[in-house]
């Protein structure tokens, strides 16, 4: 086993790939020292082969099941009685048992069918990119954007509205920002999506791909001054002169990240709520 590896892969560059690292460890686990074995197999004086570098494989880096808690379950930091959130959550879980609300993020492409009393076939269908997820509890909403026949269209859907018939994720991905409202001022090609596009397959345990796309904008003026630090947008390819970018930094408030009153640590809350929601959904 060792001799064949030695001949083929002299430069050890293949050691970098994880699969081969796993394999190497399993091969070397039985040996005390690699150099000793090499000498034993060899009859002719062989060139000195440096021992392979020790490979440290993190056994704890197992495939962890991705935990996703929909952001509308996390209660806002207010002086409301937690009982109100509990009651809202029971209703939300009951609705989720009837309608499957998939995991999606801002930047994913969804297709939504709703019941419409004024349409001829009583349903209305829309495909678009999710640009914003707002609201907490039963009133949670998401905004889908698409450009249809040259006209930009945005639909704000309520997740728990009983008229929602189906929510399908066509492409699950994240973007560099949490809020893609700047697509309104971006070139139309970035907001156009085919209504009949086929769903892109995505496995359950892979990490969600982050689309590093930087969007090109229409000429100014824009609906909002997206270059200002308050929006903290990473996903725009600013072609503005440096002077403008520096001037925009005048509105930066660097003390905000030190403000302790704005901190809202939701990690414990999220864990408890995730447990509760999962248990209820399994029943």
């Amino acid at each position: 086993m060792l001799t064949c590896y030695r001949g083929y892969f002299g430069d050890y560059s293949w050691l970098k790939s994880v699969y081969f690292q796993h394999h190497l460890v399993s091969v070397f686990e039985g040996c005390f020292s690699s150099s000793g074995l090499l000498r034993a197999n060899n009859e002719e004086p062989a060139k000195f082969q440096p021992p392979p570098k020790p490979v440290v494989v993190d056994k704890h880096k197992e495939i962890v099941e991705r935990r996703f808690l929909s952001p509308e379950f996390i209660p806002p930091r207010e002086r409301t009685d937690p009982l109100k959130f509990c009651i809202e959550r029971t209703d939300m879980i009951r609705r989720r048992k009837v309608l499957d609300i998939p995991e999606f993020y801002v930047g994913s492409i969804l297709s939504v069918t709703t019941a419409d009393p004024y349409a001829s076939d009583k349903t209305s269908h829309f495909v678009g990119i999710c640009i914003q997820r707002g609201g907490k509890g039963l009133g949670a909403t998401f905004v889908l954007r698409n450009i249809i026949q040259g006209q930009g269209v945005e639909f704000c859907y309520e997740l728990y509205n009983p008229r929602m018939r189906e929510i399908k994720v066509l492409k699950l991905e994240k973007r560099l920002d949490d809020n893609l409202m700047y697509l309104r001022d971006a070139l139309p090609e970035y907001s156009t999506f085919d209504i009949n596009m086929k769903p892109v397959p995505h496995s359950a345990n892979d990490e969600i791909p982050v689309n590093q796309l930087k969007v090109k904008m229409k000429p100014r003026p824009w609906t909002k001054r997206w270059e200002r630090p308050k929006f903290n947008i990473q996903g725009i390819h600013f072609e503005l002169p440096e002077k403008m970018m520096e001037e925009a930094q005048k509105w930066s408030m660097p003390w905000i990240k030190f403000d302790m009153l704005r901190e809202y640590n939701t990690s414990k809350l999220e864990e408890e709520i995730w447990k509760e929601v999962n248990e209820e959904l399994k029943k």
């Binding site: 809202e88 009951r94 509890g137 009983p162 929602m164």
Partner: protein, 346 residues
């Protein structure tokens, strides 16, 4: 000007009293007694555990908590506790209301897909405190005093604590009076639950509005103010004219800046959409005056339009230990229940 009498009285008391004890509280509260009569009141300001050791404070707290838990437990079966005679509902009879806590607001959908906003009112530790027959009240209607959420006895006056002791109930944060017809009287100490109201009924909710403090005329009365520019000198949010030269005076009740909010207001004719019997929550249509977690008074509507909707309610109230077994959630006919399949149109 009667003010100088008070000043003299106060000065006199200050000369005589001297020490940190009661400083002529009678004068400060505006008692206009004989101005040369100086009374020395011993109104020392102290709180209940100022002169108690820590052990004693802890002991008292635990003792009161246990006592009140025992009291609530003893009142859980009002029908077995020799209740007062029960009568049946007749048109024209008025029954008690409840004291509830405003939890917050939630959207609610009907079977047609319409969305309404509803307020959640939680009925927590609601007990009947006292019955006042009509002779003692005003000669025409009898009343029942009802108390809301439990609170600590240590910051309440003794007169209030006597009422709670007599009813055998822990001290309450809010107590209100409900005018009641003679066939709807209930024995003091009876617990009241959210199932007292049923979905499809209409209620009036009274509460103190959110206090906004001293506010100007634009916020308080909705005046338009003056333009921001075009020569206005220091006048952008002022009332402008308050009267005319004909009258030559300012009429009483003229809208002016002042304290806004923190007054009792009633929202009338609110529909009850849903009742949760497990947590005692009433889902009431629309908004209700008051901030979150404030105490509100809920009663059946007096509006003539909804007289027919409030027929045959649980009379005089809903007894939890009676034969009626209610499901956990009671819905109105039109409410979309989340366990049903999605709404479709045909």
């Amino acid at each position: 000007m009667p003010g100088w009498e008070r000043l003299l009285c106060r000065a006199g008391v200050r000369l005589l009293a001297g020490g940190p004890g009661g400083l002529g509280q009678a004068a400060a509260t505006g008692n206009r007694g004989p101005w040369c009569f100086i009374v020395r009141h011993i109104n020392s300001t102290t709180w209940w555990d100022e002169h108690l050791s820590e052990e004693n404070t802890q002991f008292l707290k635990q003792l009161t908590a246990e006592q009140y838990r025992a009291q609530t437990a003893s009142k859980l079966c009002p029908l077995k506790d020799e209740p007062w005679p029960l009568h049946s509902w007749e048109p024209g009879s008025r029954r008690v209301g409840l004291v509830a806590i405003k939890l917050g607001m939630i959207p609610l959908w009907t079977k047609n897909g319409e969305r309404h906003a509803v307020t959640l009112l939680q009925v927590k530790d609601c007990h009947v405190l006292r019955y006042t027959p009509k002779e003692e009240y005003n000669g025409k209607t009898a009343t029942l005093t009802v108390g809301g959420k439990n609170s600590s006895p240590f910051y309440k006056p003794e007169s209030a604590l006597e009422v709670f002791r007599e009813a055998g109930v822990p001290p309450k944060q809010k107590s209100t009076i409900f005018k009641v017809s003679d066939n709807a009287i209930i024995k003091p100490g009876t617990p009241l639950y959210a199932a007292h109201f049923r979905p499809g009924q209409f209620v009036d909710v009274t509460a103190k509005t959110i206090g906004k403090g001293f506010q100007g005329v634009m916020k308080r009365w909705g005046f338009k103010g003056q333009p921001a520019s075009h020569g206005q000198t220091k006048t952008h949010r002022r009332p402008g004219a308050i009267s005319n030269s004909n009258a030559g005076k300012v009429f009483r009740g003229t809208k002016m800046p002042g304290k806004m909010g923190n007054i009792y207001r009633t929202a009338l004719g609110l529909k009850v959409w849903r009742i949760n019997t497990k947590h005692n929550i009433i889902y009431v249509h629309g908004s209700v005056p008051g901030h979150k977690n404030c105490l509100v008074k809920v009663r059946d509507t007096n509006l003539p339009t909804y007289r027919d909707c409030n027929k045959n309610p649980p009379f005089p109230t809903f007894f939890a230990d009676g034969e009626e077994e209610l499901p956990e959630d009671l819905y109105d006919q039109e409410v979309f229940q989340f366990t049903d399949p999605s709404v479709t149109y045909v």
